[in-house]
Amino acid sequence: MTSFAELVLFLVVLSDFAVLAMSRLSACIRAIALQGLLLGVLPLVVHSTLSAHAVVLGVGTAAIKAVILPAFLRWAIREAAVRREVEPLIGYMASMLWGAAALVIAFAVAAVLPLHSVETDLLVPVALVTVMIGLIVLITRSKAITQVVGYLMMENGIYLFGLTQSQRVPFLVEIGVLLDVFVGVFIMGIVVFQINREFDSLSASRLTELHD
């Protein structure tokens, strides 16, 4: 059982690095949708007993993270007539290096944080990696839409952590969904306020008028 869970976790890390490496926007969205699907599968796998709550949780997560949000993103790209390619600030190679560094840090920190309640000890480091790479994507990508993707990845990382405690704390993981409200707000902001056209390019780096 645990080997399958570790396989899924491995795939999640793979999807993280995929988002880092992709140059085309639609590819990134497909990667994040895949990650959402993987997360949907995990609750069924990670705990030994198969409870109804885990099933509902898995299906719900898969629905939101794999289907609804990616569709919402694609609709936003069409609505805001966004140019297709991703403009990274520091280049793909550098992003990958940062990702690797995040991986090392995550495993170092995870070593300090032993977890007993869940069989696989891979879950904590993977969660940490996902959170950090999400933040890195948020920092290094200049396009607002890509930043939203980065934020989604951070959320997935936190959701992973939530899984470890899903048995004990009844609706802990469901709170994670509330983070998606932010994502919604961002996307609506991009579409409604035409963040793209407003700053005559989607890249958030143009927002530099306010400083000392």
């Binding site: 600030l89 840090i105 170092a108 920190v109 300090v112 950090m132 933040l135 890195i136 948020l138 920092i139 290094t140 200049s142 958030a204 780096s205 927002l207 530099t208 008028e209 306010l210 400083h211 000392d212």
Partner: protein, 662 residues
């Protein structure tokens, strides 16, 4: 104690009445204001006077609602000395101030119709704050009154806030006092560690158990904070601009009384600590001597009457500190007799300085009101046009120099005796003898400075149309000045009165075992005899002179110009030429800068500490801050904001991994 509080309430009522009667014509409102403030001061002065007359100290504890124990007020011998000076000078300054503001409002030659009620209200609040500072016996009340005093003085300093220099002077003043307050924060905190709560009694009880480090910190912080307030060199830089910018009755109050709260603070800390080590005494004595000499030297270099008087405050604070230094050394070396002389000299000079310095400032204020300028080079020949102001000013000048029949001599005489007594002892204390020539140098320089001011401003012929057209100050103003002058003469010719005033407090500081030696008391009476003898001789000689002239012809001619008869007022010795020979000797230290061009010679004075150290340091801090900001901010880009969060996260994670695991 209740009468004291009633008195303060009356003063506040005076301030409020000024607000109430601001609509009507000024006369009624002013009379009411003066009556209430002066009456309040007199009523409040009754309790301190009783304590000075030997009654035991009184305290009043109010159940406080703020943390840190009760609010306690108290009047003991030390507070009484300061309270009497504070309330006396405040009453007279209020009277002078009202007349001065009334005349300023009448002719408002600077074209700005300024409501007088605001100045009167803040003056009343200031007086109450000073009285509370001196009577406070718990930290919260002390610091509260201290800052209200600072804010009250600031608000009064910037009365003429349309002038840029006034605003700048106000800001420098405010920064100085606030830094002093923050230093007091740390001082009281280090002191309060062992104490049960924040009252002075608890602090006093906790002081024996203070660690050496804490005691060192308290002494240094007290000297820094109270020194900043008192204006000793090098922390004096805020004093001249502030006193020059303030209206004259406010600068009289500030110079006479507000900077004395610094001295009071030092003595209160000494009393609570129960004595200080010898090195601190040497430090205070050294700073006192430097402040004295440099203060009067820089005063010589000034052309502005009020800046000159402000620098003189620095000099007199120096003399007071020399007295306190001798006192501390006496206690440290176990010689209470020496300590008594030192503390008595310091305290009496504090009271004397409060009297003659406020008199001189009121005189300078009257001159400013009459001529509209403070620049000495434009004045001259005012003695003839303003005889009463001249009489007050000359008595103040003689008193500040310390010549016998006036009160300045008595306190300097005590300090001299303290220094000499210290010089006679066997151990290291003998070096204090070197204080005597320093004090003599200060006295001589003061003589030079005040002959310059009196001569250039009041004597000779008017150097400008403004000086020629000056009229005498108002009746109320003259009354205030002459009352102060009278007190100076009385205290000068009756030294035992002054001695009795400060003996209680001096014995409290020097150790209550010692009593004023009989020789000193009898000498005090002999000094009044000497004053009498001198006055008698002068009147006898005056009679001889008038008798000799009865049958002789007395002619009045223009001054002998060695044959040259087209003498113009411009040919008279001016302030800068009079002082140039002395300043030349001290070179750049004197702060006088001379610019010679082909056509003209211009001298101006520079404050070595303010222009040399404080402002350059401040602009350097500005540059560092600007450079750090540009480096750190990343030009407002969102990515940089998020990067800083990532940075913080990584730092904390590292801390989590390697940090302590309790």
């Amino acid at each position: 104690m209740t009468l004291f509080l009633i008195g303060l309430a009356l003063v506040l009522a005076g301030g409020v009445s000024a607000v109430a009667t601001r609509r009507g014509d000024g006369r009624r409102g002013d009379v009411l204001y003066q009556a209430l403030v002066a009456g309040g001061c007199v009523a409040a002065a009754v309790d301190p006077a009783r304590v000075l007359a030997g009654r035991p100290a009184v305290t009043l504890a109010v159940r406080a609602t703020t943390p840190g124990g009760d609010w306690v007020l108290g009047i003991d011998a030390l507070s009484a000395v300061f309270l009497v000076a504070v309330l006396g000078v405040s009453a007279l300054c209020a009277v002078f101030g009202t007349h001065d503001l009334r005349r300023e409002a009448a002719d408002h030659h600077d074209g700005v119709r300024r409501p007088t009620w605001f100045a009167q209200l803040s003056f009343a609040v200031l007086v109450v704050a000073i009285a509370l500072v001196v009577a406070a016996r718990s930290v919260v009340v002390f610091l509260g009154a201290w800052e209200v005093m600072a804010i009250g003085s600031y608000v009064l300093i910037v009365t003429h806030h349309e002038v840029a220099d006034v605003r700048r002077a106000g800001l420098i003043y405010l920064v100085a006092t606030h830094t002093a307050t923050l230093a007091l924060f740390v001082m009281f905190s280090t002191w309060q560690v062992g104490a049960s709560d924040w009252t002075f009694a608890a602090l006093g009880a906790a002081s024996p158990s203070l660690s050496a480090g804490a005691r060192l910190a308290i002494l240094l912080l007290a000297l820094f904070a109270f020194g900043f307030k008192a204006g000793l060199v090098p922390l004096h830089f805020w004093l001249p601009p502030a006193h020059a910018a303030a209206p004259s009755h406010v600068s009289a109050l500030m110079s006479g009384v507000v900077i004395k709260t610094g001295i009071y603070g030092l003595l209160r800390v000494l009393l609570m600590l129960g004595g200080a080590p010898a090195w601190w005494g040497w430090l205070v004595l050294g700073i006192g001597a430097t402040s004295g000499v440099l203060g009067v030297l820089w005063a010589l270099a000034q052309h502005d009457t009020k800046r000159l008087l402000a620098y003189h405050s620095v000099e007199n604070i120096g003399i007071i500190l020399m007295g306190i230094g001798v006192g501390v050394l006496g206690v440290a070396h176990g010689a209470p007799a020496i300590a008594l002389l030192g503390f008595a000299g310091g305290l009496l000079h504090t009271v004397n300085h409060a009297l003659f310095k406020s008199l001189l400032f009121l005189g300078a204020g009257a001159v400013y009101r009459a001529t509209g300028t403070r620049n000495m080079e434009e004045l001259g020949g005012l003695a003839r046009r303003m005889p009463w102001t001249w009489a007050g000013f000359i008595i103040g000048a003689a008193a500040i120099i310390g010549v016998p029949p006036f009160n300045g001599f008595v306190s300097e005489w005590l300090v001299y005796q303290g220094l000499f007594a210290a010089g006679q002892s066997s151990e290291l204390l003998r070096l204090a003898l070197l204080g005597i020539p320093a004090l003599a140098l200060i006295g001589a320089l003061a003589l030079a400075c005040f002959t310059k001011v009196a001569g250039v401003v009041f004597l000779g012929t008017a150097r400008s149309a403004r000086a020629a057209g000056a009229e005498e100050a108002g009746r109320g103003a003259i009354a205030a000045m002459l009352l102060l002058a009278g007190t100076c003469v009385v205290l000068g010719s009756l030294p035992p009165l002054g001695l009795a005033l400060v003996t209680g407090a001096a014995r409290a500081l020097a150790g209550t075992s010692v009593v004023v030696p009989e020789a000193v008391v009898s000498s005090a009476w002999t000094i009044s005899l000497l004053a009498l003898v001198t006055a008698g001789l002068v009147s006898v000689l005056w009679a001889v002179r008038t008798a000799a002239l009865r049958r002789r012809i007395v002619r009045y001619e223009p001054t002998w110009g060695c044959g040259y008869d087209a003498v113009t007022p411009r040919m008279q010795y001016t302030a800068s030429s009079f002082a140039s020979s002395i300043l030349g000797m001290f070179g750049r230290l004197s702060g006088a800068r001379v610019e010679k061009t082909a056509l003209a010679l211009h001298t101006h004075s520079v404050d070595l500490v303010l222009d040399g150290v404080a402002l350059p340091m401040w602009s350097a801090m500005h540059r560092v801050a600007l450079r750090m900001r540009a480096l750190q901010h990343g030009g407002g880009r969102l990515h940089f904001y998020l990067l800083s969060i990532l940075g913080a996260l990584l730092a904390l994670l590292a801390y989590l991994v390697v940090g302590p695991r309790p």
